[in-house]
């Protein structure tokens, strides 16, 4: 992965990122195509790009609509946009039973309404794809920005695409794919398969659209970017914005020699740590693994962690709000929350991969999706799930896992049927899981609780 390493003589990351952004904005403003697609790896400044593009379009006298996928994403975007440009009149369109975050009230430039007619004259109107789907009978916008477009389903785009003439589609192809709770096999291979991602459908029907990518992850440290890039973005590599040694995590309290402390030291030194428990088949909420996760978090906070990064001159104490625990299932998250409460830990975000998408922390502790399982299903093998869990951190990531996952993977090769006309996604989850495991095993700490 030498091409992603800043040491290889590639241009300065900031310069590379700025060039990419300029090219995207040029195509969006003046390009001849109706759509522009931007692939963004984790932490590559996607939100910053959306805010920048919105401001430039507004400054050029255009009105635009922005489509995001969840209310939290919409609120976050409104907040960023209003902070960046307090003069810009923003309309926040929302559903009657999902009022926006009250925190937005501090922005005088933001108008909230459930009716699009009251907002149509605002420079920028923002809502979720679900809410936009209900908008009918308005003059179409000339421009739109579709955020998290890879997480949007094709049928959601079908509902809203009549509202705009041209659009900038921004998203991360490596994250969790949209899914459907009912079978959609009968449409597999159709260019407009309603359960596919919006970008897949868009590109199938408009193959000539310009596609850009953001080349630098500002979130992932130099220790993580090559692994994530290799394992999940093999054909669209990216690199970290910071070099080795520019970030550091240190502890004020020395290790007590226990498994959790040793894995924390390993993660602080190398960016990765694997706490391996003895092999065993367990229920999903494996009590030992859950307790180990909680122990690691408890020690992480107790040991007076301090982070050094490009963000501040002074070392910053590592606090609970900068730590997250990621799991595959909701019941696992609930079990970890209960275990943390039992150890008196509060303020740490504990959630599933789906809900951690788009968020950023200093240190993450991950319960491996395949830990203790007797089988590897498509759900647990999904590339995006592991990618989300392994790419939320700025400093270090500790994975807690039962031994034997590599053997489990070998016993469960991908068995998804191959369907005609479906674009094969690379890498598949099986391969990505192996790549990550191989790397993690270099930072393994074996522990018997």
């Amino acid at each position: 992965m030498s091409e992603a390493s800043p040491a290889s003589g590639a241009p300065d990351p900031a310069k590379a990122a700025a060039q990419a952004t300029e090219a995207i904005l040029r195509d969006t403003r003046d390009g001849a195509h109706r759509g522009v697609v931007v692939d963004s790896p984790p932490g590559a400044g996607k939100s910053t790009l959306v805010v920048r593009a919105a401001r430039e379009l507004a400054a050029a006298g255009e009105q635009l609509m922005i489509v995001a996928q969840t209310n939290a994403q919409v609120d976050d975007l409104v907040d960023r946009l209003a902070t960046a440009d307090p003069e810009l009149p923003i309309g926040r369109l929302h559903g009657s039973d999902s009022p926006p975050d009250p925190a937005l009230e501090r922005h005088a430039s933001v108008t909230r309404s459930t009716k699009v007619a009251e907002l149509r004259e605002h420079r920028v109107v923002i809502a979720t794809a679900a809410k936009w789907g209900y908008v009918k009978g308005v003059e179409p916008w000339r421009h739109a920005i579709v955020d998290e477009a890879y997480q949007m389903r094709s049928d959601a785009l079908l509902r809203v695409a009549g509202l705009f003439e041209r659009a900038l589609f921004v998203g991360d192809p490596g994250q969790l794919d949209p899914f459907s709770v009912v079978g959609a096999e009968q449409w597999a291979g159709l260019s407009y398969d309603p359960s596919a991602s919006a970008v897949v459908t868009l590109l199938a029907h408009n193959p000539g659209l310009p596609q850009h990518r953001l080349p630098v992850s500002w979130r992932l440290p130099a220790s993580a970017a090559p692994l994530i890039s290799d394992a999940f973005y093999p054909y669209t590599p990216f690199r970290s914005g910071t070099g080795h040694g520019e970030r550091a995590l240190t502890f004020g309290v020395a290790s007590d020699g226990s498994g959790p402390d040793r894995v924390l030291d390993e993660a602080a030194a190398s960016g990765w740590g694997l706490l391996e428990l003895p092999a065993r088949h367990t229920p999903r909420t494996d009590p030992e693994a859950v307790a180990a996760v909680a122990q690691v978090v408890r020690r992480l906070l107790d040991r007076g962690g301090v982070t050094v990064s490009e963000r501040s001159e002074q070392p910053v104490p590592l606090t609970a709000d900068r730590v997250a625990v990621g799991t595959a299932h909701r019941d696992q998250a609930a079990a970890v929350r209960a275990a943390l409460a039992g150890l008196g830990v509060t303020g740490v975000a504990v959630d599933t991969a789906n809900r951690l998408q788009g968020r950023e922390f200093d240190v993450t502790v991950v319960l491996h999706p395949l830990s203790g399982r007797p089988d590897a299903t498509a759900f647990h093998l999904e590339t995006g799930r592991l990618c989300v869990l392994a790419s939320r951190h700025r400093h270090a990531c500790v994975v807690v896992c039962r031994a034997g996952v590599a053997d489990l993977l070998d016993e469960h090769p991908s068995m998804e049927p191959v369907r005609l006309g479906v674009t094969v996604k690379f890498p598949d989850g099986w391969e990505a899981n192996h790549a990550v495991l191989a790397r993690l095993s270099e930072h393994r700490v074996r522990w018997r609780p």
Binding site: G35, S180, Y192, P194, H205, A334
Partner: protein, 518 residues
């Protein structure tokens, strides 16, 4: 696999008998279903070999293709199948009731009240297993585009009249079967495993004989042994005691019994002799393979009829009746056969409808059945508990409304988010919403009722629980709504290829292709 199901399977292994997964029946069963047990020919994809079909359990009609490689005979089989099925499928068309509804007046754009015809009941098709459902779809696909001699006198191989119509009905039934909770076309193995857990794998559960062996083993025999015998037991002639429920046949049967009989038929035919004896032999052979499955399907129906129907089953059947009525209307309006491939808007509409149906089905099954609800409680999606305190509170605003605060003690561990909504079924069938306001102690939580208490300042009688009531709240909605409407197909946007009618080569309807000749 949900934990409750795993537990039931473990218990089934221990007990040597299937264990219930439901206390009520979750699918509609018609008083007079049409059972269809098809068989196909090995080595000829989709080629029919024979079938038992009928509504009378003691008098099934046997249809046989004595030489499955002869397309004329296959064609005759389809014609005979149409003669068996269509009278049943169409016999429900004319018994209708009027249903009040609302629709948009095209002139004024206002919603007006109308009355629409709804068929009083609908025909129900039951096949042995999911492969049977697939075969119904395949038959529909293979016959609905065919042209009859009346439609196209120049066609060298016209389809027997009625066959394209059968194809359209089978296509409709096959497509409707993809809607969760629908009952127009049911697979018996799926129905049974919805209601009982066996001690074998899901794959083995698709063997109707083995499934019934767990459900209803012979006196003194363990379910596992009985199932094993059903799967692999062979008689002195080397044939399976319990033939597979189709459509594929047992290869040993094909090689040792069927092939020689077909050879004798061919020999008689080429010699110009009477094919009657050979044909009768093939009929007897197929009966020996089909009849056990036929009887098994009816045994399954008996077992299911012994369960009382769930409270929402009739509501879902009404949607099936609408589906049947809608297809009847499309046929009467002379619309072309269902297209081979859905357009973008239709595909999205179907997916959205099925997702809503799935959510509604999940909620209704839980509300109808405490055993299913127990599974949802175990998964943290619902909780039951005792009301330990009721504190009256009121909403802010000009006219304060009652918003009582309830304290509930529960042993369940629901995955509640602060401020999340929970739902409770009121005795009159309405749903009351409440907001979760937090845990006050381990196992004790508080909810605030939000609605369902009438219009006055004082809550309606019985709408607010009292101390000591044992109640069940769910974290999922009871009657989830569908998403926003989709655009018309003519307004398909550029992202999805534009309107289908503008595409080059867009025909009024799909032509017949070589795939249409089974």
């Amino acid at each position: 696999m949900p934990l409750m199901e795993t537990l039931a399977k473990a218990q089934a292994v221990a007990a040597g008998r299937a264990q219930p997964l439901a206390t009520v029946r979750h699918r509609w069963l018609s008083d007079r279903p049409l059972v269809f047990v098809p068989l196909t020919t090995a080595g000829e994809v989709g080629a029919p070999l024979g079938a038992l079909v009928g509504t009378e359990r003691d008098a099934p009609h046997l249809l046989v293709v004595p030489q499955p490689r002869d397309r004329d005979l296959r064609s005759a089989f389809l014609a005979a199948l149409a003669d068996e099925m269509l009278p049943y499928l169409t016999s429900y068309e004319d018994r209708t009731v009027l249903e009040p509804g609302r629709e948009t007046d095209p002139e004024t754009g206002k919603k007006v009240s109308v009355e629409r015809e709804l068929c009083e009941d609908a025909p129900q098709l039951i096949v042995p297993n999911p492969a049977g459902v697939e075969y119904v779809r395949l038959l529909g696909r293979a016959t609905r585009f065919r042209r009859t001699a009346e439609e196209d006198p120049a066609d060298p191989y016209p389809a027997p009249s009625q066959v394209p119509l059968l194809g359209r009905w089978l296509t409709h039934y096959g497509e409707r079967a993809r809607t969760p909770g629908s009952a127009l076309l049911l697979a018996m193995t799926e129905l049974l495993s919805l209601h009982w857990a066996t001690g074998q794998s899901g794959l083995e559960d698709q063997h109707l004989g083995a499934l019934l062996a767990w459900l209803d083993p012979p006196q003194g025999v363990d379910g596992a042994q009985a199932a094993l015998r059903a799967q692999v037991g062979r008689g002195a002639d080397g044939l399976l005691c319990c033939p597979p429920a189709g459509p594929a046949t047992d290869p040993v049967f094909d090689n040792t019994a069927l092939a020689p009989a077909i050879d004798r038929y061919d020999a008689a035919r080429s010699a110009g002799a009477d094919t009657g004896p050979a044909e009768r032999e093939i009929r007897a052979l197929l009966t020996s393979q089909l009849r056990p499955t036929w009887d098994d399907v009816w045994r399954g129906i008996d077992l299911l009829r012994a369960l009382p129907p769930g409270g929402h089953v009739e509501d879902r059947w009404k949607r099936d009746r609408w589906s049947y009525t809608g297809h009847r209307d499309r046929l009467r309006a002379g619309e072309p056969p269902q297209p081979r491939v859905d357009d973008a808007v239709t595909a999205a509409q179907k997916l959205s409808g099925r997702e809503t149906a799935q959510a509604r089905l999940d909620a209704q099954e839980a509300l109808d059945d405490p055993l299913v609800m127990a599974g949802r409680r175990l998964a943290g999606e619902a909780f039951a508990g005792e009301v330990t305190a009721v504190e009256m509170a009121y909403s802010d605003g000009k006219v304060p409304r009652p918003r009582p605060l309830l304290t509930v003690a529960t042993d369940d561990e629901p995955h509640l988010d602060e401020g999340g909504t929970v739902y409770r079924a009121l005795p009159d069938g309405r749903t009351q919403e409440a907001r979760f306001t937090g845990w006050t102690a381990p196992g004790v939580l508080r909810v605030q009722l939000l609605n369902g208490m009438g219009r006055g300042k004082v809550p309606d009688e019985g709408s607010v629980p009292e101390v000591g009531d044992r109640l069940c709240w769910t974290l999922f909605e009871h009657a989830p709504r569908g998403g926003p409407e989709l655009p018309d197909a003519d307004a398909t946007p550029w992202t999805h290829g534009g309107p289908p009618s503008s595409a080059p080569g867009a025909a009024t309807h799909d032509p017949v292709t070589s795939e249409d000749y089974l």
